[in-house]
């Protein structure tokens, strides 16, 4: 099965522009904000129907925050999010409810994302009740959902702790699917799973996309997995997207020095070539998002030979080439 080409001529399903989410750090006698965590600081991308956009980056760079801000599980600080042409930030309560029928999220932690005191059946049925779906045959629909994600009717009366990690992740997906959304944010849906089980879930997601025509925002830090599932990939660093391109382009020819380092750091399950491979080992740690460096956020760790003082003062403009390959680095080689 190979991926069908995505039609990017129409309107994007999701359009995120200059999205910012800043968390105040409170202190002082009256809880004044004494600083901010610049968790997401100007993220822009579009997502077309049927497409999978991979979002990768190191821990704490703002991937989850981006995802949650899109669904307004967090209030964005600035920027705009348009879902199917509608401004998400302007939605009232009813509008939000409608949005949440169309856009759903699957979480990383297979243990924390299910209510331990609710049976699987009750959990899935609740969403249907709230949204008044399938009122005549809820149970049937619930069983259908279970089967859809590869579980069986007999699992209906069980509780989350009786399932393995992979099964729980399936349940999370079933719950997201229960409201029949068009768009799923997958926030590291398989990171917590073992490789053998990871593959099962990835395949399930793949099937669902094929069958239901879903659009995915796939958040992960496992680069090879993202490469496998995504049409396009965005690389985040410290709250910003530093590179966004077609998956193949990006993996074959990464242009941003950070992307390059990131890709080279991934251990390959291939002992034969290990001597030959050239690895860029970055020095230092990711800076704190509450105290980001000036200029290009990556400059303190950047190994690029052409790094100059401009990098330390001005944040580079994100430039795109004709093939839609966006890079935020003046020295990026095209």
């Amino acid at each position: 099965m190979s991926r069908p080409p995505i039609d990017r001529t129409g309107n994007p399903l999701l359009s995120v522009e200059k999205l910012k989410v800043h968390f105040p750090i409170r202190s002082g006698a009256f809880g004044r904000a004494s600083g901010h965590v610049y968790a997401v600081d100007g993220v822009t991308f579009d997502l077309w129907p049927g497409e999978t956009l991979g979002l990768v980056g190191e821990s704490g760079c703002g991937k989850s925050t981006t995802g949650r801000a899109i669904l307004r599980l967090l209030e964005p600080t600035a920027g705009s999010v348009a879902f199917d042409g509608q401004d998400v930030r302007a939605l009232d309560r009813a509008g939000l409810r409608a949005l949440r029928r169309r856009a759903q999220i699957v979480f990383q932690d297979p243990f924390g994302s299910l209510n331990p005191r609710m049976s699987v059946g009750a959990m899935l049925e609740e969403a249907l009740t709230v949204h008044r779906l399938h009122e005549s045959n809820r149970r049937g629909r619930v069983i259908e959902l279970l089967e859809r994600v590869g579980l069986r009717e007999e699992h209906l009366d069980r509780y989350p702790h009786e399932f393995s990690g992979g099964q729980r992740q399936r349940l999370g997906i079933a719950r997201a699917l229960s409201v029949e959304p068009d768009f799923l944010i997958l926030d590291e849906p398989v990171s917590a799973l073992d490789v053998s089980v990871q593959a099962q879930v990835v395949n399930l997601l793949d099937d669902l996309q094929g069958d239901l025509g879903l659009t995915y925002l796939f958040i992960a830090h496992d680069l090879s997995l993202v490469e496998h599932v995504s049409d396009r990939v965005a690389v985040m660093y410290l709250g910003r997207i530093v590179e966004l391109a077609d998956a193949e382009d990006l993996y074959r020819g990464p242009r941003h020095p950070y992307t390059k380092a990131l890709l080279s750091a991934v251990p390959r399950p291939d002992p034969i070539g290990r001597e030959q491979r050239e690895r860029i080992v970055l020095s230092g740690d990711v800076p704190s998002p509450s105290d980001p460096p000036s200029g290009c956020l990556f400059h303190p760790r950047c190994p690029h030979p052409k790094k100059d003082e401009r990098c330390t003062s001005v944040y580079p403009i994100t430039e795109g080439s004709s093939d839609g390959h966006l890079v935020a680095c003046p020295h990026a080689d095209s």
């Binding site: 029928r101 990383q108 209510n115 331990p116 709230v130």
Partner: protein
């Protein structure tokens, strides 16, 4: 199901019909078996002691009616429950085990806690059927001049008090008062505490600040002042004591629940519920509170014990229940004047409190272990 097992089931059902709880006990389910069997034997004993008595009680005074019907209802309930339980445990269940069931199982493995639970069940049973088993009326005064402060004897197994009343009967009736005070007061405070704590934790921000400041104030507030003022301002009654005590435990419950809700609020299943467009009320009531309940149950169990002790403290300060009603606390407080020469007056109610509170604490500790998945494995 194999033949052998079916035979086993039939046999067990027969045994269960005669002595409910025994099959469970034989299978090693000490918890439910023990409770069923002891309640059966106890209620049976009351019935056998005087079937006429029980039947008369069914139409007697309010107190007696409660007792009589309790005996009957208890016998029927124990009998059916055991039967159903035996039957069910032989049917392979396709249903999953909920957290509650898991906890029950973990709990029933804890010997001390089960002993505590049996004790509590016994106590409540005794409290309910007291009119049928107490040898004397609790306020009946025998000859003041000759029957005061008589030591242990056949007619007064635990002696008589300063007004020539039967101590055993007063302890039995006192159980009703002390246990209900504990139970109801804790019920009130836990309800308030859970509600307040959940609201503070869930809504956060200003609501939280205001509520928690208030809770801080209540906690640092010298409770006694309030207590005395209330007791002084109103006519003393059983309900006043309950309300006064009910108002004491809630701040700590509120803190507990708030902390729990705060941590739950960040859990992904709550995020998922929000993402599914559930209303705040639904999330709070349907998802947050049920998950915050286990620590509350533990606190409540321990709280009942504490409240019984607290009531004793109030009695010491002459703020307890209205005489001649006996509560354990007031019995010790009244009996302390006779500590040197009528030791039984304060000792027996004292022991009753100690063992009751001990039982509640054992159960509370057991529940804590059973309800906390981290401690369960």
């Amino acid at each position: 199901m194999s033949d052998e097992r079916r035979d086993g089931a039939a046999w067990a059902r027969v045994v269960s019909a005669v002595l409910p709880g025994l099959p469970q006990l034989l299978r090693g389910r000490v918890g439910s078996g023990g409770i069923l069997l002891t309640s059966w034997l106890l209620l049976g004993a009351v019935f056998v002691r005087g079937p006429g008595h029980v039947l008369a009680a069914l139409t007697g005074s309010w107190d007696e009616r409660v007792a009589g019907w309790t005996v009957l209802a208890g016998l029927i309930a124990v009998w059916t429950w055991s039967g159903v339980d035996v039957k069910r445990s032989h049917e392979a269940s396709t249903r999953g085990m909920s957290q509650w069931q898991l906890a029950t199982r973990a709990f029933s493995k804890n010997r001390m806690a089960v002993v505590g639970l049996i004790l509590i069940v016994l106590l409540y049973l005794v409290a309910l059927v007291t009119p049928l088993i107490a040898p004397h009326h609790p306020n009946e005064q025998y000859d003041l001049a000759s029957m005061r402060l008589i030591g242990l004897s056949a007619t007064h197994p635990l002696g008589t008090d300063q007004l020539a009343r039967d101590v055993l009967s007063r302890i039995l009736y006192g159980a009703r008062i002390s246990l209900s005070i504990g139970f109801v007061a804790v019920g009130i405070s836990v309800t308030i505490g859970t509600f307040v704590g959940a609201i503070a934790g869930f809504f956060g921000g200003v609501v939280d600040s205001v509520i928690m400041r208030f809770v801080d104030m209540v906690i640092s507030f010298p409770r006694l002042v309030l207590l005395i003022a209330i007791v002084a301002a109103f006519d003393r009654s059983f309900f006043l004591i309950i309300i006064v005590l009910g108002l004491t435990l809630w701040p700590s419950t509120a803190r507990l629940v708030r902390a729990e809700v705060l941590s739950l609020r960040e859990r992904e299943f709550i995020q998922a519920a929000r993402a599914l467009g559930f209303s705040k009320r639904r999330i709070l009531v349907g998802h947050l509170i049920p998950n915050a309940v286990p620590p509350v149950i533990v606190a409540a169990t321990l709280g009942i014990g504490n409240t019984i002790v607290l009531e004793a403290g109030l009695s010491f300060l002459s703020l307890g229940v209205q005489a001649p009603t006996a509560s354990w606390g007031s019995m010790i407080a009244d009996g302390r004047a006779h500590m040197f020469n009528a030791w039984w007056l304060s000792t027996f109610p004292g022991l009753a409190i100690v063992f009751t509170v001990l039982a509640f604490n054992l159960v509370g500790d057991g529940l804590r272990d059973a309800l906390d998945p981290r401690l369960r494995s």
